[in-house]
Symmetry: C3
């Protein structure tokens, strides 16, 4: 039901301090903590003795002690101390240990076999650490299956309706959707040259680019999806013909971590190349995202889930439209990967590295699809 | 499980204004709105594209636009506009359309096949529009199966206990219950001549009839049930021997619309021939109904449902008493109708028309059972 | 799933006054009330007519009247009055009647066959009525299976962790656990001579015994379990070598009444031989128990249950430690008793009578296991 051999965002780095925190990821109870050297650790949250949650326990150095009966577990998941008479430790006294990578401000957790954990399968979010960009991060708890959220993100035609008056424009509406599959990546791209900007950009055009909100712009929206649920929208506007770095350039990241089949932790970012130190610009993007995601998208997606009840959407035989193409490609690819995993196949790395893309994009706003 | 070829009250007319409203009727999500000419429309509430609820969308003229991806549906249920590139509309892009009749202040919705929708099957509630009568309407959300509510209404012996001191009297207690079945109608009637009035009538006897609360009265309680869950209580008091229109005459209507097997929207009315423009009389009846239905009946019926859990009452093998007879007739008739429907049989019209009854009753308060 | 031929605490005596009260015991709805002579009665709470709850009715002398349709039931469970026309009472018109014993301030209810109800199977809690002792009683509603609570009580090693700094001591930690099975009783005993007292005792040592909190003590903790879930901890401290009645002697009672498989009413007591009339001592014990049970044990046990979801703990294959031995004995014994009951076997009386134990203990604090 889930892709096991895959990376999921378990937390933003800043969420994990000195305390024990817990997450449910793909129905698995996970405990997260930092060792004394700051390294993050993820192990199963339930003591194998009587299934007390370890997050109700305490850190002891680089280990965690269950506060029900005192068993101590280390980062390998093995029990390293049984404080009871005799102190014998059964080899079965262990919790799962999850491979982790902490990179670009996120803690990425591997839910599959440890020996299959492959850094090359980590999708490229180097833009979170790129010089000349500032990052806002947030997380939403969404009462819906994660694929309903990727459907939403891979079909930006919904902006004309759900985000009418803010994220929609005539130029986007008439643009052509180009989709592409490569490895375990799906792209859904729109290039909208020399047209109107969606209203959300108007304030930035005036304050950041010295333009009028009604001036024509080149506008691009390139959405990348990597299995199982990592999306990156490369989006922005420039005065017509100018390269991306002369405009307002933004990446929005979307990391969909299934809690269960009908609940998702949705980790999001906005990465901007403008007003890096300007609190008004930060507040503008924070507010815009809150409005679009929390006020507009989340209630609609949760209403879809409520309508489905416990059923998979395909059981209701949805009637497709052409705009579904990218979402459908992502759903089929994920289904293939999950089926392949059941046959013992390993996932292949996803898209090209983003640094090449960044370099190319910085030089031009041309409607060049990424080379893959 | 439900009678499909039947009329259910989906809303009071005054509940449906300019806005989209939604109801769940027999487990089906329904959208209600008015066209520009005021006509009410009922269609399925879930867009067949991705099952976004249409009530989160907006009216566009006589149609409704889904605000997720912009599909537009009309009163036939068919998609009439696909705003996406190409604009092709698949014949499958449609929602159910429900036949409606708006009459006597209620919106009646047919859940079965459209071609079987038969106005003759609409039970007669012309008293809601009868000259010389005033109507109060309300609705309660009851966490119980609708047949538990019709059981309650068809056995008025419960007034001696649950409504002790307000709706009960010695004259009712000693009266004989007469039951009658005809078509898909069940009657449960009590005629209580020249006896005491239930205390609820005392205030009206003094203010409306110039009597003392302790004076003897002729008292009648004629309860009519029509499948699947429409009840009408013809009830009142007169000075002994006088015709109904010389007394305090009331109809209470009870329309039980199943939301699901364990939740019901209970639409009720009080229709009175006295104090038509008197706010004190209106407040009296509003308060009496709130007390009897919301404070007394609803908690008891919901407690029954809670005791049943997910089980049908017959699984617990209830022990019957003679007073159950009318409720049992209604349950058996409804079961026969549902079984007949599964074999392709059509329902037959129910009781006699109420106008004949009204005419006859106006002339006399005799214990004449309706001729059917 | 439950032991049926067994006594469960249905309420403390002081909880049952003039009103009807209701309990769910082993998934069965029970009504409790007192007759005019004060005797407690327990019968099924659902009227067999339409399953209205009798606790929404009223007492009429020594009987209870359902306030939906007026059927009246007596302590035998049989309907004794049908107020409806004819008044015939079907022999099926009856609710279950539960044998009761009211003793030592508790109402003990037998869920099995009435003819099997055996007072000899009542575990001995005569300490609740023993001269020279004062009793505090309470009840907690715990969202967990009752065996998770008896696991907790039968393995006091958890005090080192969950009750660290209050109920734990080096002397307890290094003490040897002695377990014993007899009849349907399990003992889990610790004798800790001439060592430190757990911190909870320090205040009492100073105020009640004229000692310093750091003085060495003889400390005993004898936990008795009787099926299906009655526990008694005989616990206390004395100056080394002195008999129990020269020290601070306490019994804590623990009666685990299953509401359902994942919810328990936990009736508890603290019985002390010191500060009998001293409100400060009463407040001290009340506060200590509230802290240990409600703040520390209850959240941990409920977290275990939440981790299990609907599963039995054995489905998750817990990894045992030696400290589990007493809890495991109790679980196995209960499973044997339930299996035996399914084969028609009768339970045998449990432990020795407590009065003999009290007499012996009063004379000595020696680590003598009860003779059984």
């Amino acid at each position: 039901m889930y892709l096991r051999n895959a990376w999921y965002v378990a937390a933003w780095s800043h969420e994990l301090g000195d305390e024990l925190i817990t997450r449910t990821i793909c129905d698995q109870p996970v405990l997260l903590y930092r060792k004394e050297n700051g390294d993050a650790v993820a192990i199963g949250n339930l003591c194998p003795h009587r299934f007390a949650p370890l997050h109700m326990g305490r850190k002891v150095g680089d280990t965690v002690q269950c506060m029900y009966h005192g068993m101590v577990f280390g980062e390998s998941g093995a029990c390293v101390l049984n404080p009871h008479r005799g102190g014998v430790i059964s080899p079965a006294m262990r919790v799962p240990a999850y491979p982790l990578i902490e990179r670009h401000g996120a803690i990425w957790l591997w839910t599959g076999e440890a020996e299959a954990a492959d850094e090359a399968l980590l999708p490229d979010y180097s833009c979170y650490s790129a010089p000349g960009f500032a990052v806002i991060r947030g997380v939403m708890d969404v009462a819906a299956n994660y694929e309903l959220i990727s459907d939403n993100l891979l079909d930006l035609t919904h902006a004309d309706f759900l985000h009418e008056g803010t994220l929609s424009s005539e130029a986007i509406t008439i643009s052509k959707l180009e989709t592409l599959e490569a490895g375990s990546t799906v792209w859904a791209n729109r290039w909208c040259p020399n047209g109107d900007a969606a209203p959300v950009w108007g304030q930035l055009m005036e304050s950041q680019l010295g333009m009028k909100a009604t001036d024509p712009v080149d506008h691009w929206l390139y959405m990348r999806w990597d299995a199982p649920g990592h999306l990156l929208l490369d989006v922005g506007i420039t005065p017509p013909g100018l390269p991306r770095d002369k405009g307002a350039w933004v990446f929005t990241g979307h990391h969909l971590t299934p809690v269960s089949k009908d609940r998702t932790l949705y980790y999001w970012t906005v990465v901007r190349n403008h007003g890096l130190d300007d609190p008004a610009v930060e507040a503008f993007w924070q507010g815009s995202i809150d409005y679009a995601f929390a006020v507009q998208d989340k209630p609609m997606i949760e209403a879809q889930q409520a309508a489905l009840g416990g059923r998979h959407i395909d059981e209701l035989r949805p009637v497709g439209i052409p705009a579904d193409v990218a979402g459908a490609k992502a759903r089929r690819m994920l289904a293939r990967l999950i089926a392949g995993e059941a046959r013992g196949e390993r996932a292949r790395p996803g898209s090209e590295r983003l640094d090449a893309l960044l370099a190319r994009h910085a030089a031009s706003a041309d409607p060049v699809l990424p080379v893959v």
